[in-house]
């Protein structure tokens, strides 16, 4: 090993560790602090490893009503994701597999939504929601959540469906299958990997969605987690370990997902970005 190599190694490791500190420290700080008691936090506020780990902050966070936000977030996320998968899969099938005049334009029309700033629709949706009488209920979020997830979901699904060999459909057609049973029995099972991608992508997007919740919900008991956390903050601004416990809990579902299926999550999160 010559001098050049050593210098290169030193630069590489220094850079890697500086970046590690930048990305890792705040994150680990959040988790570490959430396991500290208030006293031990004041003793060593900068450390990321608690001297005497305790769950007391988590207990108090739940006592203060985080459960409600959690349940709301789970409800709206699960129902929306089911709706998105079903509706976008249905639409993607003819868009990618059946030839008709409006094929390309319609696909473009849907996918164009990916580029849209949500703000451009906010006020009309706010008014519409009030007119429908569902303002300040979880129902208010369902429509916007499904609609704004359609572009990326249809984009991913159509790309995937295009790859399916034509022969499979033709064989089923000859056996007397209609389009719906081809879709249901052949297409859907074949695109399960793409469906898991859109489930992960939309789960993360909806679990952390903030602006529609901010505009369409107002009472604390109807709030989703991102919105609730914000309220929580004012009450917890003194109890930093408590706040960190709440923040950790809010990130937990995605973290768990990542631990269970690391590669799938990475693929899912970048699914809308990379052309297949």
């Amino acid at each position: 090993m010559n001098l050049m190599d050593i210098v290169k190694k030193v630069i590489l490791y220094t850079l890697a560790i500086v970046l590690l500190f930048f990305t890792g420290y705040p994150f680990l700080y959040m988790i570490g602090t959430s396991f500290k008691s208030l006293n031990s936090f004041f003793e060593s506020p900068l450390s990321i490893i608690p001297s005497q780990p305790t769950f007391e902050q988590y207990v108090s966070v739940f006592e203060m009503g985080l459960t409600r936000y959690f349940v709301n977030s789970i409800l709206i996320t699960v129902v929306s994701v089911i709706g998105i998968v079903f509706i976008s899969a249905l639409a993607s099938y003819p868009l990618s597999r059946m030839s008709f005049k409006l094929n390309r334009p319609l696909l473009l029309f849907f996918v164009a939504g990916m580029m849209l700033p949500i703000h451009a629709t906010l006020i009309p949706i706010f008014i519409l929601t009030q007119d429908m009488g569902i303002y300040d209920t979880l129902w208010a979020l369902l429509g916007p959540y499904i609609a704004f997830s359609l572009p990326v979901s249809i984009f991913i699904l159509t790309q995937f469906m295009q790859e399916v060999p034509k022969e499979l459909e033709e064989a089923a057609y000859i056996d007397g299958c209609g389009h719906f049973s081809i879709f249901w029995r052949i297409m859907l099972p074949l695109v399960v990997p793409a469906i898991s991608t859109i489930v992960i992508y939309n789960f993360v997007f909806l679990w952390t969605e903030f602006i529609f919740a901010l505009v369409l919900l107002s009472s604390p008991e109807n709030m989703t987690l991102p919105l609730g956390l914000q309220n929580f903050y004012s009450e917890f601004s003194i109890n930093i370990p408590g706040l960190m416990a709440a923040l950790t809990l809010a990130s937990l579902p995605i973290l768990l997902l990542f631990v269970i299926a690391q590669n799938k999550v990475v693929k899912g999160l970048t699914g809308g970005a990379v052309k297949g």
Binding site: A91, F100, V204, W207, T208, P226
Partner: protein
């Protein structure tokens, strides 16, 4: 058989089969419609209709709480162009784009390069570099408000160790924007890292082996092999950064509410404040429609550039 006969025969079969054919054509169209209809309805109600309505609203002066609207034509737009806060917000949005393209994306590239180097413990680096991207933006905002806390925040405490005096990061009009931009870099650099990593896996090893045989050093290999191979990813990332910057809202709303003053105001926060705090729904709609127009122009520009590039690609063998 001459051509006439063929044609007439064709015509005959056409006549014979036209009724069931039209029927099956109709059935096919109906099937397509049934498949697309649910998506189309939801998309029309919550995406297409609102954009048209936003433009309509922007021509009125109204509070949103009362139903009476006063038609004012383009007054809101004229007012908007003279509004220094609007230009300030637009400038801040452009800052987000610049930081994304010139800081975030290069940083993501550096992270990906580190993960592809012969460094020890790559798996640990890989996970820890990626973690910030898994947090919800609201949680990130609240976490960093505390990181920047003037008295107890870790940032100032570390500065204190090195003998610097504490700084009010988010309350200082000059520093606030930079402080929030650092958080954005923290959140999104891992995303670009992942994109680059995926692209780097696709570069064939043979290229590097051939370069090794020619005696290339690692700098040459980076400039002549890695970078050109990553060009499409760099372009895609930049497009995402430009389009994504208009959507920015959460982190600014949570961390600074656009303040102090309007130092960290962006189009999203300004629109929200005008509409839902000051109850100037007409004016807010004008801002919202401007955001739509800007996004539209950017997307069209990108499409044109992409088209030109592809055409050139076809002409040069």
């Amino acid at each position: 058989m001459n051509i006439d006969q063929i044609v007439s025969k064709k015509e005959q079969t056409k006549v014979i089969s036209s009724a069931p054919k039209r029927n099956s054509q109709f059935k096919k169209r109906l099937t397509i419609l049934l498949f697309i209809l649910p998506a189309l309805i939801v998309y029309m109600i919550y995406v297409v209709y609102p954009i048209i309505t936003t433009f309509n609203y922007s021509l009125f002066s109204w509070s949103g709480t009362q139903r009476e609207k006063i038609f004012v034509g383009l007054t809101n737009y004229i007012q908007l162009f003279a509004d220094s806060t609007f230009w300030m917000a637009l400038k801040n949005n452009i800052k987000i784009v610049l930081v994304s393209v010139f800081v975030q994306i290069p940083l993501g590239l550096v992270m990906a390069l580190i993960l592809f180097s012969s460094i020890k413990g790559r798996k640990v680096f890989n996970v820890l570099y990626f973690l910030p991207y898994l947090m919800s933006t609201v949680a990130i905002g609240l976490l960093w408000i505390y990181m920047y806390d003037p008295v107890n925040g870790p940032v100032n405490r570390v500065l204190d160790i090195f003998g610097f005096s504490p700084v009010a990061w988010l309350a200082d009009p000059i520093l606030a924007m930079t402080s929030v931009l650092i958080v954005i870099v923290w959140q999104f650099a891992p995303f670009y890292m992942i994109l680059f990593k995926a692209a780097m896996v696709g570069i064939p090893d043979e290229l590097y082996e051939a370069a090794d045989m020619d005696g290339a050093n690692s700098f040459h290999k980076f400039v002549y092999i890695t970078l050109p191979s990553l060009m499409p990813t760099i372009v895609t990332s930049s497009v995402l950064a430009v389009v994504g910057s208009l959507k920015a809202f959460d982190i600014f709303y949570i961390m600074t509410r656009g303040g102090p003053g309007h130092a960290t105001e962006i189009l999203g926060t300004y629109m929200y404040k005008q509409g839902f705090v000051n109850l100037n729904m007409g004016y807010a709609s004008a801002i919202a429609f401007m955001m739509f127009l800007i996004a539209f122009v950017i997307v069209v520009l990108i499409q044109v550039i992409e088209y030109q590039r592809r055409k050139r690609g076809l002409l040069t063998p």
